[in-house]
Amino acid sequence: MDYWIALLLNAISFGMVLFLLSAGLTLTLGTMRLLNLTHGSFFLVGAYVTFELERHGVDLALAWGAAVLATALCGAVVFVLLRPTGEDHLRQTLLTFGVLFVIADAALVIVGGDPAILPRPGFLEGTLDLGLLDYPKYRLFLVAVGLGMAGLLFWFQYRTRAGMMLRAVVDDPEMARGVGINPTVLAAVTFVVGAGIAGLSGALGGVLLGAFPGVDLQVLLFALVVVIVGGAGSIGGALAGSVVIGLVNTVTIAFAPGLALFSMFGVMLAILTLRPQGIAGKALA
């Protein structure tokens, strides 16, 4: 029994990291119809900035903040670079792929090829007695941060003016333009904020997923599958997709580790067959 509860909690805490990771990706897909391949690189940047700063004696909370700012800055640079490519998918893909290479190589130069062991704050070391079982505090912290971020994004989307504009653009970019929403500004803000959140996912989630050369593409795959399963442009979809992928991945790793990545294919196959638009989204044009 304990085992199963622990497994479930593992799945959920992993799912929350996935949610932080994919929230930005799903929003850029929804608003810009853009597949940003550097999204996994933002995770890498977030994790490495945290690692390097903490190693040089910076307070961890400050390092987290710096990681978010650094990735948001990366996001801004990528957004500016993307401007001349217009809406050409091939060119967008090439560009973000190129930036992915550049960031990966720069990270290799600066941090090196060894896996970085990410720090945890002292008060989150050890376990917490949940009655039925003792469970690592840090994972519970991840669940809290994930849910908190989900709450914040929901509030933003449904309770603020900018959030309503965002939903309007996701639903119908043309109409949104018609009622005077400037989609470029909105897309820029979404892109930068989404990058920052992905950076946070690296800073916090690197403890679980690791931070090493190649993690960028690996987490990109997770984020893609989450968005495919959840449906593009939807925070709720990203949350649902993250939990589903968290569960499938955790359970597969527990019982058939070699098939962990392959199980993603099964989930994709199922969702694309049964519900091509994803759990909560609408079909991407």
Partner: protein, 352 residues
């Protein structure tokens, strides 16, 4: 009457001009080994194999408008078919080739089903995710794939007792296959299917309205493209005598897209793009560790500054450098046009 003769002459001249470049190109490729070292010939084979991959991808991207980030899956299917059959069974070339092509066709049928409703970004996402999953399988299912170490023990390729594994012989085998793929894809590009595929790229609604089963056209394009890519993969495995997960990686797909975008154009462009990217991989990699950085910057530069690839660049350069020749060509076209106009007027008179 004279009109149709002159337009036939013009089209023959144009067709003749179009043949010159490929014939010269392949002729040069056939002669060049005499001037190269064995290492250089080996590199040229690798570049040509990457050219096959780029040409196959362009059928999907350029003709079909389906930008895929998962084409490495099919290249890898061919390569892994050879690797696995050699590693576990010690099978020969012919069987490995057949299994490789069949595996790619089968995978393309499944992936094609996944992307049947996906367009644009969704197509990129699903193809990338699908190929990454198989990359994961190659790295993680160590009992079968030998993980990151990859598969060794691929013996020299031979058919009916003819061993063609020596560097020079293999180069010519690769060259013949490249020429074959080039001719095949050129034929497809001129065929009804090739045009219908471009029609689907430009306007699906219209193609449906004239009775085309768009989903199946797209699916067939994916299968053809996958089978050609896997042919490249099979050749790759026998060239390197080794297969590792890198052939399935997203970077391979990305390099393919770079080659397609760099080349531009119909069939020759992606081949040239593939040769250039294949050369860069080797040259840059041997001079610096910062290969990834340089390639990344190249991706960015091509995306921003070469929207129509080298073919587009050559065309616009040609237009500025040779305005006189361009004018001459227009004059030929115009000589045909007035005659056509007369025909229209008489037709119009009938109706009026």
């Amino acid at each position: 009457m004279s009109n149709s003769v002159s337009s036939t002459l013009v089209s023959l001249r144009l067709r003749g001009a179009k043949l010159v470049a490929p014939v010269l190109g392949f002729g040069a490729l056939a002669m060049i080994p005499y001037a190269l070292t064995l290492n250089e010939i080996h590199l040229l084979s690798a570049m040509l194999i990457f050219g096959i991959f780029a040409m196959s991808l362009n059928l999907l991207v350029g003709f079909g408008g389906m930008a895929s980030l998962g084409h490495a899956l099919f290249f890898g299917a061919g390569a892994y078919a050879v690797g696995l059959l050699s590693f576990h069974r010690d099978s020969g070339f012919a069987l490995s080739l057949l299994v490789g092509l069949a595996a790619a066709a089968l995978l393309a049928l499944v992936v094609g089903f996944l992307v049947r409703r996906a367009r644009g970004t969704a197509y990129l996402m699903i193809t990338l995710a699908a190929s990454q999953v198989f990359w994961g399988l190659a790295t993680q299912w160590k009992a079968v794939t030998n993980g990151d170490d990859g598969l060794f023990g691929i013996s020299s390729p031979s058919i009916l007792g003819w061993d063609f594994g020596s560097t020079v012989t293999y180069y010519y085998v690769v060259l013949v296959v490249v020429a074959g793929v080039f001719v095949l894809l050129t034929a497809i590009s001129r065929s009804p299917f090739g045009y219908v595929l471009r029609g689907v790229r430009d306007n699906e609604q219209r193609m449906r309205a004239v009775g085309v089963d768009v989903d199946r056209i797209r699916h067939l394009a994916l299968v053809i493209s996958a089978v050609i890519a896997s042919l490249g993969g099979v050749l790759y495995a026998y060239q390197e005598r080794y297969v590792g997960p890198d052939v399935l990686a997203a970077t391979t797909s990305g390099d393919g897209l770079l080659a397609v975008a760099l080349g531009g154009g119909a069939v020759a462009g992606p081949l040239v793009g593939g040769l250039v990217v294949g050369l860069l991989e080797d040259v840059v990699g041997s001079y610096t560790d910062r290969y990834l950085m340089i390639l990344g910057i190249l991706f960015v530069l091509v995306a921003i500054f070469l929207p129509r690839g080298l073919a587009g660049l050559a065309q616009s350069l040609g237009d500025t450098v040779r305005p006189r020749r361009r004018a001459a060509e227009q004059a030929i076209e115009q000589r045909v046009e007035p005659a056509q106009a007369e025909v229209t007027e008489t037709e119009g008179a009938h109706h009026g």
